[in-house]
């Protein structure tokens, strides 16, 4: 793996709390000394947040498909829901 990917792996270990307490302290000290590293950590956290948003959107689509399927194939489900909102 090239150097940049190793660094991404290391940052992941830090943000996912997979580092030992001692390694965490060393990493935090490196962040304090290097603003650039701090920025990379921040961007990586944002990348994780983006993946989470993407995943939630995908899951919402899957759930909409479940609803549509039930609506089309389960008459008692459809009439129950229709009665609630009539």
């Amino acid at each position: 793996m090239r150097k940049q990917l190793h660094e991404i792996q290391e940052i992941d270990q830090y943000v996912l709390r997979e580092m030992s307490a001692a390694d965490q302290l060393v990493f935090q000290a490196r962040m304090l000394a290097c603003h650039h590293l701090q920025e990379k950590v921040e961007h990586q956290l944002q990348a994780h947040a983006l993946v989470r948003r993407f995943a939630r959107e995908a899951q919402r689509e899957q759930l909409s498909e479940v609803y549509d399927r039930l609506w089309e194939t389960d008459a008692s489900f459809r009439s129950e829901i229709t009665a609630i909102f009539k």
Binding site: M1, R52, R60, L63, Y67
Partner: protein
């Protein structure tokens, strides 16, 4: 979605949605709102299950209805007289970033990344969100080994991270 999971979701949907719909209707919401809030509640439940932070002392139906009530109140931005529900919110532990509406920048970034390579996002989703093992991911995405899937995972994360950085730099430059 795997077959077993899809079947489970359909059963939960069939069993729980009518009660949630009744609750939302009583609160003044419509069918679309009930559906959206129910989906969010189910997503919160599934996330907590994956993270092993689920602590349910009631039935699944009651749990989902409780989350939907909180989401409804958030949606309506009710005033501080609703404070008692805050305790309930703490107990249910809704993820911190769940309510935060996606800023314009995030939405744009997401659209860009989806267009640029949804396979990368799917791979990242499988690991970081669905918490699948690298062996499983290697099989699912047709990599020869878990090691090569891991390298690809970091390449994908690098791509997303670069895009985050570039978008921010661009916005700072034009601000």
């Amino acid at each position: 979605m795997q077959e077993k999971e899809a079947q489970w979701l359909t059963t939960v949907y069939r069993d729980s949605f009518p009660q949630v719909a009744r609750t939302v209707q009583q609160l003044g919401g419509d069918q679309e709102t009930a559906k959206d809030l129910f989906h969010d509640a189910l997503i919160i439940y599934l996330e907590k299950q994956r993270n092993h932070t689920l602590d349910i002392r009631v039935s699944l139906k009651a749990y989902l209805t409780g989350i939907v009530k909180i989401l409804w109140i958030r949606k309506c931005k009710q005033d501080s007289r609703q404070r008692p529900l805050d305790n309930m919110e703490d107990q249910l532990g809704i993820p911190e970033d769940f309510y935060t509406p996606a800023p314009e920048r995030t939405t744009r970034l997401l659209r860009y990344l989806q267009a640029a390579g949804s396979k990368c996002l799917q791979l990242l989703q499988a690991f970081y969100y669905e918490q699948r093992s690298m062996q499983e991911i290697a099989r699912q995405f047709h990599f020869k080994t878990a090691r090569s899937a891991t390298v690809q995972k970091y390449k994908c994360l690098e791509k997303v991270r670069e895009q985050v950085k570039n978008t921010r730099e661009y916005e700072e430059a034009v601000a």
